[in-house]
């Protein structure tokens, strides 16, 4: 089973897997205060190919609407889901409830501060918080797995608070 982001899933669903390698640029949303993430290029690529191919199924359309709702950002040393990201959780929960065969992988991450293995624990705690929130909204246990990368896979480089804020995150990665 391959895990890819929503964008890459769209590729595969359109039968265009042959034109692309599964390792797509990950779309990374910026947290509210932060700026500058790319991904625009690959987004437009998807839109162009989408028009040329057969229509999306209802599930694929539902999945596509989640691509802007696939990351929850956290406060420093916290695993509590901030108020403004509860809608992200709800949107994903609704999708998973509606499509019980859908499988989600939650990837927990931290900023670079502190020790590495402790940060693996913190990233796992964040992923588990999101997982429990999904289950509280009716998602089945077997639909969601977690992994923690700690500080090993930062979304952006840098050692200022703007970078840290973008790295303290849980990414929602749907399996195909």
């Amino acid at each position: 089973m391959k895990f890819t982001h929503v964008l890459a899933v769209a590729f595969l669903a359109l039968g265009l897997a042959a034109c692309t390698k599964p390792k797509q640029t990950k779309p990374v949303d910026s947290p509210p205060a932060a700026t500058t993430e790319t991904g625009g290029a690959s987004t437009s690529a998807v839109d162009e190919t989408a028009t040329a191919a057969q229509p999306l199924t209802a599930q694929q359309r539902a999945l596509a609407t989640l691509k802007s709702k696939n990351i929850v950002y956290f406060d420093y040393n916290s695993s509590e889901i901030p108020q403004q990201y509860l809608a992200v959780v709800s949107a994903n929960a609704a999708y998973l409830v509606k499509y019980p065969t859908a499988r989600l992988r939650l990837e927990g991450n931290t900023d670079e501060r502190g020790s590495r293995e402790y940060n693996i624990g913190l990233g796992e705690r964040r992923a588990q918080t999101v997982r429990r929130a999904l289950m509280a909204q009716g998602v089945a246990d077997g639909q969601v797995t977690t992994v923690s990368y700690g500080e090993e896979r930062p979304a952006v480089p840098g050692d200022d608070e703007a970078a840290y804020a973008q790295n303290r995150r849980v990414e929602f990665v749907y399996a195909q």
Binding site: S115, R116, E117, V147, R153, P154
Partner: protein
Amino acid sequence: MQSVKSWVARSAFRPVTLGLVLLLAGTGVGHAQLRLDVTEGVRDAVPIAVVPFGGQAGGGPNDVADIVAGDLRLSGRFAPLDRKDMVARPTSGSEIRFQDWRLLKSDYIVVGRVVTERGVTALAFELFNVQTGEPLLAETVPVPSLNMRAAAHRVADLVFERLTGIPGAFSTRIAYVSVEGTAPSRRYRLLVADADGFNPRAVTESNEPLMSPSWSPDGQELAYVSFETRTSAIYVQRLSTGERRRVSARAGINGAPAFAPDGRRLAVTLSRNGNLDIYILDLGTQALTRVTSDDAIDTEAAWSPDGKSIYFTSDRAGSAQVYRVDLNGAKVAERVTFTNSYNARPRVSPSGTDLAMVTLDRGDYRIAVMDLKSRTLRVLSDGQQDESPSFAPNGATIIYASQSRGSGDLALVSSDGRFQERLRSDSGDVRDPAWSPFPAR
């Protein structure tokens, strides 16, 4: 393929020309070159003259005197005399005019030469006290498989031990992780280099994170965490053959491996429903023994040298602190650290008397050492994001990782905090260092 690079390092006290450090041999891939910078010298470093050895052409990566002097400088305790200031080049004790070296203010002198007898190459060397002319050491060190650097490190070990009473750790190695590239195409490598940063060799590579190398007590194997299957798993790899086994790939986290002093067990961190606890994994039987059972994050196990207790990080009191559990007793964890709001990643000194850790020191993550008897904590490093301390097997030096302005280097600090230097990476980040045990003799 090897190439040597010279440069002038900046010292707080005087410029020092260093000819150390290098590129790898072997695969021919130019990764993770480490470069040594002395960032803080010691005012009372002992002056010593290491005279170029006879029987070999000077210069190049196999220059014995250069390697010995580099090692002694790396310890922070010695200030080798600059070669260009040497007025004579004696290669045996009978050729030394001690008054010359007194004028140059060297306290000690090392002389020697490469000798070959009946087809066996060796380094014959002598150490003298310059003030008294007293001979302190005269030894012949065989050159194994024409590995001149290994023999030269052995000479440095013996000189260091004779003058300090502490066995030298220059014949050891360091394991560390390098990362090149940026998301989403990063390349992670687990490397092993000589203790002076020379000759890095890749143990394994992956596009997914590699972390937390831990040496087996015999120095033959490394345990480490790899995410190559897109989830964490612990592997044990034999360095001589490259052969490896996956020893833990349970659901959830498989992290923070630490070889027990007996070499037959690994302390590991596993998770159940997101709760991290420390277990002991018997490598022969795969049997698991649970060590902690708290709702908090319990991780980063470190064994005491006698194998009777484990120190670890836990945030059971709200923030990360270091705890100790007696493996033979009731397994009730005792809190060890109380200074500062964050203390993590403990490592026990080889003598068992001190604990190195990461501490949050007025807003910066730094390396500190705690005397386990008095429980006093001393901050040794001065970075903002220092982590992963690891003791040299002689306890005299700690290697750690230091991140600044988004790039990661390795750094050394003497256990008394008086001497610091950095091993800078010219390509990519380096991190997660682990100092090997002494080699078997």
